[in-house]
């Protein structure tokens, strides 16, 4: 049900490798690009295709023939300066491009955002939260482990409502999500603009086509829910 994306991943260091693995396991198409003299460590069992270019040259990036409108760029080079430079380059070549970069501090995040990165992933922010949670909120940390970090059948995902589903025109409070094994966490209600709202019962949203639901559920319940949606 997840959309298959075309992804261009710059850099294949320790972070790049993890990103690649996760992206592949979710079924996306990933093209890996690294700098000319970057050291690359490839697991023997993965048949990965790595393109080497001089990332400082625009013509070499253009020569990759990327359809920028339908791709997502990930900048996961080892050096902050390279990521920043890459974001600038990509944004100047493809102003509408969806560029994501990794960062290692607030400071770097600020610069990357200014350079035009659509989203920035801090290498340490989530990890530090996790470490602190283990000390102060053990239950939360274990729950997040189950839902987010561990590979099991409990998942968090988003579902965009299409036309004519059984949810169309109904209110969130009317629908007994919990009994379907689904927990609705957040919603993007088109009527309220494109802002993300947590469904902690302060507003009773009316569901329409185009709204996006973020849910947590077990795999089998998700499949059942999808079937119900498709039936309309």
């Amino acid at each position: 049900m997840e959309k298959q994306q075309n992804i261009v991943l710059f850099g294949y260091g320790s972070f790049g490798r993890q990103l690649y693995k996760n992206l592949r396991s979710r079924g996306h198409n990933v093209k890996v690009v690294v700098g000319l003299d970057d050291y690359v460590e490839v697991d023997s069992d993965s048949n990965i295709n790595i393109t080497r270019i001089n990332i400082k040259r625009n013509d070499e990036i253009l020569a990759l023939n990327i359809n920028a409108e339908e791709s997502i760029f990930y900048c996961a080079m080892n050096k902050t300066a390279n990521n920043l430079f890459l974001v600038l380059t990509l944004k100047s070549l493809y102003p509408m491009a969806n560029v994501i970069s990794n960062s290692n501090s607030n400071e770097t995040t600020r610069k990357l955002k200014y350079a035009g990165a659509t989203s920035v992933i801090d290498l340490y922010e989530a990890t530090s939260r996790r470490i602190v949670n283990v000390l102060t909120k053990p239950a939360v940390s274990m729950a997040l482990d189950e839902i987010v970090y561990k590979q099991n059948d409990l998942k968090m995902l988003e579902i965009e409502l299409e036309e004519n589903t059984f949810l169309e025109g109904r209110y969130v409070n009317e629908i007994r999500f919990r009994q379907m094994g689904i927990i609705l966490i957040a919603i993007i209600d088109k009527e309220l603009g494109y802002e993300l709202v947590f469904t902690d019962h302060r507003i009773n949203h009316k569901l329409d086509a185009g709204d996006i639901l973020v849910i947590v559920a077990k795999e089998k319940d998700i499949n059942k829910f999808q079937e119900m949606l498709n039936k309309g």
Binding site: I121, Y124, T127, I131, V132, I147, V216
Partner: protein
């Protein structure tokens, strides 16, 4: 004779076995010698007060005669306090009865008679060791002014002020510096004495025979040499002959050299010592905490974690091997120590056995982290250890060493990055609940005994009204602290005290529920 020996031995055994005697002795020892003993500071305050009052009386007595009762106070009370203190210190310095018992046991082992004279000599030698120690000598001199026969002894009251060094720890640091650089300072002292000696004699030879009306004898010449070499230069005695002036010029140059030398030695020694002094203070401060988390490594991740811990009110101390990083943490206002966390020493100082609950190994080097983790676990395996790692192979090794939690930042971030590709909205949600940037947060609430949720079925709880989304419940069980995570529990599940609810909601809604508990 034999009988008295026997009596002595049985008395020694009596002291050895007496609980009360040992209790009293331990108490006295704690009070006057043990810095960790909480009531020692009252004793210290009292002694400082006594010393200061005695010095004040000395100063007041210079211009006008102090009243008799104050003089009596100085003579009897202060003296008594000092004498008692001196004797007590001598008493707790060592155990005489142990020496007696040792001596008797030894001689019975070799089947020899105990000679009282040698036993006595041993005891005296033992206590003499104490009496010749630096602080004991100061203590003794401080008692002398009580003898009013000699006027000059009055000045020794100032030695009472020296006694104060003992009651203030930071001042002893200074003495330590002097002691540490004893060799260098002694060399310089010898050198300058030599110069003063030579220059003094030369000046005396050149100007002593009536050329200079101010130089009457050799002492005047030495006095002049010291005043000149130290660059103080009063000018009450000044050379008048060309020869005398040449000598002056020479010793002025050596004088400047010597002075700057001494200054630099003391300053550099202080700098070396500064780290240790700071470390002592940090150890002392965190020593008061009941529960302590140790963060090893103050890199990018360490800094973020520390900020999070601070926000949550967790007590922690930072250890970093690099002096620069430790200083940075210190300047950021945290307890920080520059030390090698792969060694046991620092953890023992911090109280690994009783105080430390968590150790976080967050340096950028995997092997270093594994090393620290093993170090901590080998000292005390009940301490919860979390280690950062960027390699799956090393992670397995860490798990072998019973590291409680292995965290891989690249893996966590890589997973997040991958979520973004297919599900940007879910990514937003994740980011905001994981990084707690928004007001909506994920939190846990433990159910208190007798609260409104105790013994209630999930279906009967109105989470809608509480404005919370219930993710799941940790049911308390016998064998583990948290129990198993029950995701989206059914309406029939009954909550009990000790269970933990994991909810998502606005921070005020969560605070509200916690208040109700």
């Amino acid at each position: 004779m034999k009988k008295s020996k026997h009596k002595l031995l049985s008395f020694a055994y009596f002291l050895q076995g007496s609980k009360r005697y040992n209790n009293i002795k331990n108490f006295v020892y704690d009070l006057i010698e043990n810095d960790d003993y909480p009531y020692k500071k009252y004793f210290d305050f009292f002694m400082i007060f006594v010393i200061l009052s005695s010095v004040t009386l000395l100063v007041m007595d210079v211009k006008r005669h102090i009243p008799d009762w104050l003089d009596d106070f100085d003579l009897y009370f202060v003296t008594t306090v000092f004498v008692v203190e001196y004797l007590l210190r001598m008493w707790v310095y060592s155990d005489i009865h142990k020496i007696i018992i040792d001596e008797f046991e030894e001689s019975s082992y070799f089947d020899k008679e105990v000679r009282l004279s040698s036993l006595f000599a041993k005891i005296v030698k033992n206590k003499w060791e104490y009496m010749t120690s630096f602080s004991a000598i100061i203590d003794l001199i401080a008692i002398l002014p009580s003898y009013r026969g000699l006027r000059v002894l009055r000045v020794f009251v100032l030695f009472r002020a020296f006694k104060m060094l003992r009651y203030t720890k930071s001042l002893t640091g200074f003495l330590y510096v002097l002691k540490n650089k004893k060799f260098e300072l002694m060399t310089l002292l010898t050198l300058s004495t030599f110069f003063i000696f030579i220059a003094g004699i030369m000046l005396y030879v050149f100007e002593g025979d009536n050329d200079n009306p101010n130089i009457h004898n050799l002492f005047d010449a030495f006095y002049w040499a010291l005043i000149t070499i130290s660059t103080v230069g009063y000018g009450d005695i000044a050379p008048i002959t060309p020869e005398g002036r040449i000598v002056t010029m020479l010793i002025i140059f050596t004088g400047i050299g010597l002075i700057s030398f001494v200054t630099s030695i003391i300053v550099s020694s202080f700098n070396e010592r500064l780290g240790v002094l700071r470390e002592d203070r940090v150890v002392q401060e965190v020593g008061k905490k009941k529960k302590l988390t140790v963060v090893c490594g103050y890199g990018l991740l360490g800094r973020l974690v520390v900020r999070g811990l601070e926000k949550e009110g967790v007590e922690f101390v930072i250890i970093d091997r690099s002096e620069e990083m430790a200083a940075l943490a210190y300047n950021d206002g945290y307890h920080a120590i520059c030390a090698d966390a792969t060694k046991g020493e620092i953890f023992e100082k911090l109280g690994i056995a009783e105080r430390i609950s968590h150790v976080l190994c967050l340096t950028a080097d995997d092997i270093q982290n594994a090393f620290i983790a093993v170090n901590v676990k080998s000292l005390n395996d009940r301490v919860h250890v979390a280690a950062r790692c960027s390699d799956h192979e090393i992670a397995t090794k860490m798990e072998c060493a019973h590291v409680d939690q292995v965290i891989m930042p690249e893996e966590v971030a890589g997973m997040m990055g991958a979520v973004y590709a297919g599900e940007p909205v879910a990514f937003e949600v994740l980011l905001s609940i994981i990084e707690e940037k928004e007001k909506t947060q994920i939190n846990e609430v433990a159910i208190a005994e007798g609260s409104f949720l105790d013994n209630k079925a999930i279906g009967d709880v109105d989470f809608e009204k509480l404005r919370l989304i219930l993710l799941g419940v940790f049911k308390r069980s016998e064998n583990s602290k948290l129990g198993e995570f029950i995701f989206n529990p059914s309406d029939e599940l009954v909550l009990n005290a000790g269970d933990n609810l994991v909810c998502i909601g606005y921070s005020t809604a969560i605070a509200n529920l916690k208040r109700k508990m």
